[in-house]
Each structure stands twice: as structure tokens, then as C-alpha cells.
């Protein structure tokens, strides 16, 4: 029964497919596709090409492709940065032919790459990425972290043997101000498809030890536009934006910025510029310290001068005041002495005058003088009789005149 059914062996089928394909694709053609992943093996580049839905972003077509080593070397002669196009997410326009191998299946054999198209695609992709970063505010977050007043402990993400890193270290070590930095290198791949993974790991390493660092620098030497396109990476931009330490980039762009630059707190052109920035930052700190110190000393000088003047003025015041007081006191004493002197003279004079008046009064009131004026004094038993009513008849009576007295008993006779 089964012998009646017409069937093919797998090899017959594949040979048939191969023939049909060869008949329909007898010439090479240009194909636009995005690279899902790329791998190199003995100089050959194996790519997985895909196309995504413009609506859902799902993969709607997929094909394995290969660039043989000989083709790669030929294309590279005109495009030295060719390898950088073989990066996940890159869109390329490749010239080639679909071939079918009985054992290995369908494959697109690439013989040329339209690098101009790829560069244009990179620009479009970059623009979209930048718009997304700006829309999500990732370009502002790390910039809000203040740099410490001086940066001493720096984590550097770079490649140990890269010219950019060597320049950076040399510049730092030979600074003319004698500034020192503690640099910890996180040796990372700075190009190609593994860049995202190794930089992410380095950032995670630093984040776990964030208290040991003041800032992070991501540096890489120069490179072509395509060479540096790997730094236009959304995931890395997001990590940098949310990183707990200030991030400084010097990725080697002279006229352009990458997504990582956009997200970094400080973006500089080259590793040397980063070294200069760090040196200037620390010099500015020392200058501020020196300036404040000078102002403090100057302020103290003013204060001391003010105090000195105040003390001098107080001293002068006390001196002048005491002198014035002495003068015043002396004057007062003199016045008092004068008053006392003149006062005593007056008192004596007054006293003398009073005494003279008193003496004169005494003279005037002397009974003898009064008797001389014709008056008499009448005494009865030693009592002076001044009133008629006091006179007692027939009592011992003495009557005094200025020139003598009469003693006897007298009787008042009433006679009008």
C-alpha cells in the first residue's frame, strides 16, 4: 500500500527547494531588515535578520543571514567601522541572495552592505530614542543630583587598555596642582553587542558600593558615529538616569551626544575633558575654601580693629572724663572753700553786727539808763512791782531812782 504513494526523500525535497529558489532568485537583491543578533565565528558573521510589525512591534518575518569572511574583508575596506553595524537593533540594507542548502536550510548570503542606509536608519532610531528619553524625563533625573564639593573617589567604567582610559589616567596623574584621586576601574566592554550587558553589570557593582564613591565616570576614546551608536541604548540611559550617584560621561563624541550622555548628570566630549572637569571641580573647591578663609581672617581683622578702636575710645573717654571730673571736683572744692571762707567772714560779720545790736539793746535796756530818763523801780519784798494793782499798802517797799533809793512803808491814796 505504501509503495503506491509517491514520496520524496528529504534530500530530494531540499534539492528541489534549492533548485526552485535558485531559479527564482538568480540575481542578488537588496533587503532591508533589523538585526536581532549577530555572532562572529572564524571571521564569518552570522546574523539573524527580522522585521517587526509597525503596529504591534511583534516579529513578522525572520531569516538567518551570513557574511563570509572574504566578503566581510572586502566590504570593510571601504567601511572600516563595518563590524559596528552588526549590532542588535540596527537596521541594515544588505545586498545578497537567498540560498538553500540541503543540510543547513535557508540562508541569506550577504555580499554587500549599504552603510549610508544604515547610518540614516541609525539617525532615525536615535531621534526616536532621544524623544522617548526626553518624554520620560530621563534626561533630567541624574542632573538633579548635586556633585559633592570635591570628587575624590571615582568609579570609572571603561576598558583598561583603551587609549581613552589611558589618556584619562595620565591627565589625572600629571595634573599640575598635585591633586590626587582614588580611581576604581570597572573594566567593561565599550563597543559592540555586549556593551549593554557589561556596563549594566559595572553600574550594578558600583550601586552596591555607592558609599565608597563620590561619582561615576563612563569614558571611551573617540570613534565613528556608528562605532559609538551602541551608547544610544535606552536601558543604559534609564540606569544612568536613576543612578544614585552623579554620572559623568566622556564617550568620545566630538559633535554629537549619545543617549547615555543625555541621561548623565554631566556630559563631556572626551575622557581628557572628564579629567579636566574633575581637576577644575576640585580646584574650584580649594579656591572656595581659600576665599572663605581669607574673608574670615579679613572679617576678624575688621572685628579686632573695631574692638581696638572701641577700647581706645573708651580709654580716651575714661581719661578725659576722669580729668574733667577732677577739674570739676577741684572747682567745686574751690567754690566750696570760697563759700566757706566768704561764708565764715559773713557769719562773723553778721555775728559782730548782731552782737553790736544786742549790745546796743542791752545798753538801752539797762535799768540804770532807764532810771536816768526819770523812771523809777518799785520793789516790795524783792518783787518788782510793775502794776498798781500789785502794790500792797504798808508793806516794806523800796523805790529806786537813778541816783539812789528810798525804803519804807507806803500807802496808796486814791486822789484824782
Amino acid at each position: 500500500m505504501t509503495t503506491d504513494i509517491k514520496s520524496y526523500t528529504l534530500l530530494e525535497l531540499n534539492t528541489y527547494i534549492k533548485r526552485v529558489l535558485a531559479l527564482n532568485f538568480d540575481n542578488e537583491l537588496w533587503v532591508r531588515a533589523e538585526i536581532l543578533n549577530a555572532a562572529e565565528k572564524r571571521g564569518h558573521y552570522y546574523l539573524t535578520l527580522i522585521q517587526k510589525s509597525s503596529v504591534s512591534n511583534d516579529i513578522v518575518a525572520q531569516l538567518e543571514a551570513v557574511v563570509w569572511a572574504s566578503d566581510f574583508q572586502r566590504i570593510k575596506k571601504e567601511n572600516p567601522d563595518l563590524v559596528n553595524f552588526f549590532t542588535s537593533g540596527f537596521e541594515i540594507m544588505s545586498h545578497g541572495q537567498p540560498v538553500f542548502h540541503e543540510r543547513f536550510g535557508l540562508q541569506f548570503r550577504i555580499s554587500d552592505i549599504n552603510t549610508e542606509y544604515a547610518r540614516g536608519a541609525l539617525d532615525r532610531r536615535k531621534e526616536e530614542l532621544f524623544n522617548r528619553i526626553r518624554t520620560e524625563g530621563l534626561d533630567k533625573i541624574n542632573k538633579t543630583l548635586p556633585l559633592p564639593p570635591a570628587i575624590l573617589r571615582l568609579a570609572v567604567i571603561s576598558s583598561e587598555n583603551a587609549a581613552g582610559y589611558i589618556d584619562f589616567v595620565q591627565h589625572i596623574e600629571q595634573n599640575k596642582f598635585g591633586l590626587k584621586f582614588r580611581i576604581t576601574l570597572l573594566d567593561s566592554v565599550m563597543q559592540g553587542t555586549s556593551l549593554e550587558e557589561t556596563i549594566s553589570k559595572s553600574l550594578n557593582f558600583i550601586e552596591k558600593r555607592k558609599s565608597e564613591f563620590d561619582a561615576v565616570a563612563i569614558i571611551r576614546g573617540g570613534g565613528s558615529k556608528v562605532d559609538l551608536a551602541a551608547f544610544d541604548n535606552y536601558r543604559l540611559a534609564m540606569l544612568i538616569a536613576h543612578f544614585p550617584l552623579p554620572v559623568i560621561t566622556g564617550i568620545g563624541h566630538e559633535i554629537d551626544v549619545s543617549a547615555m550622555d543625555l541621561a548623565a548628570g554631566t556630559s563631556l566630549k572626551t575622557p581628557t575633558a572628564v579629567a579636566e572637569f574633575l581637576i577644575n571641580h576640585n580646584i574650584a573647591f580649594l579656591a572656595e575654601i581659600d576665599d572663605r578663609y581669607r574673608k574670615i581672617l579679613s572679617g576678624f581683622s575688621v572685628s579686632i580693629l573695631v574692638y581696638k578702636n572701641a577700647v581706645e575710645q573708651a580709654t580716651m573717654f575714661i581719661r578725659s572724663t576722669s580729668s574733667l571730673l577732677t577739674d570739676r571736683l577741684r572747682h567745686t572744692v574751690q567754690l566750696t572753700m570760697g563759700k566757706i571762707t566768704s561764708g565764715s567772714t559773713a557769719i562773723v560779720r553778721d555775728f559782730r553786727h548782731t552782737m553790736q545790736i544786742a549790745y546796743r539793746s542791752l545798753q538801752l535796756s539797762d535799768p540804770q539808763n532807764i532810771l536816768k530818763k526819770g523812771y523809777t523801780l518799785v520793789f516790795q519784798n524783792k518783787d518788782k512791782i510793775s502794776l498798781k494793782s500789785d502794790f500792797k499798802d504798808d508793806s516794806n517797799t523800796t523805790i529806786y531812782w537813778a541816783d539812789g533809793k528810798v525804803t519804807g512803808k507806803f500807802k496808796i491814796e486814791e486822789n484824782e
Binding site: P148, P149, A150, L152, A155, E160, V169, I172, E173, F177, G178, L179, K180, F181, R182, I183, T184, L185, L186, D187, S188, K201, S202, N204, F205, N282, F285, L286, E288, I289, D290, R292, Y293, K295, I296, L297, G299, F300, S303, I304, V306, Y307
Partner: protein, 69 residues
């Protein structure tokens, strides 16, 4: 101004702030003459410590920093 005690492990930010406070006090004129010697001594110590930290630190180029990654 209250006298501040010196901490051995002050950060550069703290040292700068302390210097700023001394400057503010001096410039405001609100300062007791008795404090001047101490504040001059403290400002000098801060300046010297900052300079020392920026120039005396050992430069360690640790190429194996991420071996634990």
C-alpha cells in the same frame, strides 16, 4: 556663635558648611571677642584638612574593581 566640636570624620561638605557658618558669623559681626582665637584656629584647621584631603589621598588605580561582577 556656639563653639563646635571637631569630629574626626567630617565630610568635605560638612567642613565647608562649618567654614561657611564661621564666615557668616564673622561677617554678621555677631561674634564674641573671646571666640575669635578659637574660630581662627578652627578655620585654619578646616582649610588645612581640606587641602590635605585633596592632595594627600593615595591614588589607587584598581583595574580589577569589577572582578566581583
Amino acid at each position: 556663635m556656639k563653639k563646635m566640636s571637631k569630629k574626626a570624620t567630617k565630610t568635605l561638605t560638612e567642613l565647608l558648611d562649618e567654614l561657611r557658618q564661621i564666615q557668616i558669623s564673622v561677617e554678621s559681626g555677631n561674634i564674641d571677642i573671646d571666640q575669635i582665637p578659637y574660630l581662627i584656629q578652627r578655620a585654619t584647621a578646616i582649610k588645612e584638612e581640606c587641602e590635605a584631603r585633596l592632595t594627600d589621598i593615595d591614588s589607587i588605580i584598581n583595574a580589577a574593581g569589577n572582578k566581583e561582577v
